[in-house]
Symmetry: C3
Subunit: 137 residues, 3 copies
């Protein structure tokens, strides 16, 4: 059985989404499958239109501006581009949270096509039970 | 042996507590036991009186107001009510962090009775070692 | 084989670093090895000089001042001192994130010597695959 990891994306902050994409890419580099569950604020960032302007997490403290400037200068790919790239190399599957989508009237077709399906949290917990790690971001 | 998951609640932000309660309920729906360890800012939210007014995590970005308004309109149950409901259906056990409780002079009887016991972090790590997943929120 | 846990430190907020150090110490008390991966904002806090002034996570809400004051009064050791103490008792290994260090021009010698090595995220994912838990802070 192929080994896998799960990542729950909760935050809509750009740096956390980037961390999630980078960890997913590290998992793909190890031949692991990756299941991602996007819920709450991160789900809004997967909207094809009307996604809120991404902010930085306050975990950044007062270094946010310098780091973001450096990332732009060095042309670090966006979290969404990273997810798209690794989806072509490895088994990366992204699920939207049905409860939050329903609450906010978001339909599957409103989301970037990288989101394969909209499922319930219990289904995601079930598919993560035997993952090598499950992270909450 | 019954399978179980562990959730460490650190944040006192309402949306993260809600995410924790929803994940716990997804675990219960899968027949998993759930152990929750409430520490730092989340522990203060379990106080029977004098709990700080819950805030939203900054992960929400500028969507906080709209989402909270929608949750109120659709009468989404509170995180504490969700925890209470699933505790009646499944094996959900909530532990307070002894170190933080001690630091802040909080006693077990100051906490909502849903908190079953106040234990040390090493004891919680020990009971989480064989969990199917351990999340930090 | 010795059992182990992994902790990914992302946040540079003092309370989250403290939570990470306390969980690591709980793991050491259980005889577990601990691997820590410091990336993004937490990596900056391991700099020997020029580390940004640590802030508190907004998860603290309006209780931040009271709790910090109490911690000072009760002389709670800093997160870095806690990590140093438990490193002398148990197998605690701290790795810096190569990608972020590279991005910001940080070299291994710029970091507190408690950081043993600077490695890639895929290497850390690989060493965490068989951990008893992997937490993202």
């Amino acid at each position: 059985m192929v080994e896998k990891i799960s990542i729950i994306l909760f935050s809509g902050a750009m740096d956390k989404l980037m961390a999630g994409a980078i960890i997913a890419s590290g998992a793909v580099a190890n031949g692991l499958d990756v299941n991602i569950f996007t819920t709450f604020w991160s789900l809004l960032q997967f909207k094809k239109s009307g996604a809120p302007k991404p902010t930085l997490s306050p975990d950044a403290g007062n270094m946010a501006d310098l780091v973001m400037k450096t990332m732009k200068e060095k042309k670090v790919p966006s979290w969404l581009d990273t997810l798209k790239q690794i989806s072509e190399i490895g088994n990366v599957t992204i699920y939207g949270c049905a409860m939050f989508a329903d609450l906010m009237g978001i339909k599957k077709e409103d989301l970037d096509p990288i989101v394969k399906d909209v499922i319930g949290v219990s289904q995601f917990v079930d598919m993560s039970k035997d993952a090598k790690m499950t992270l909450f971001l």
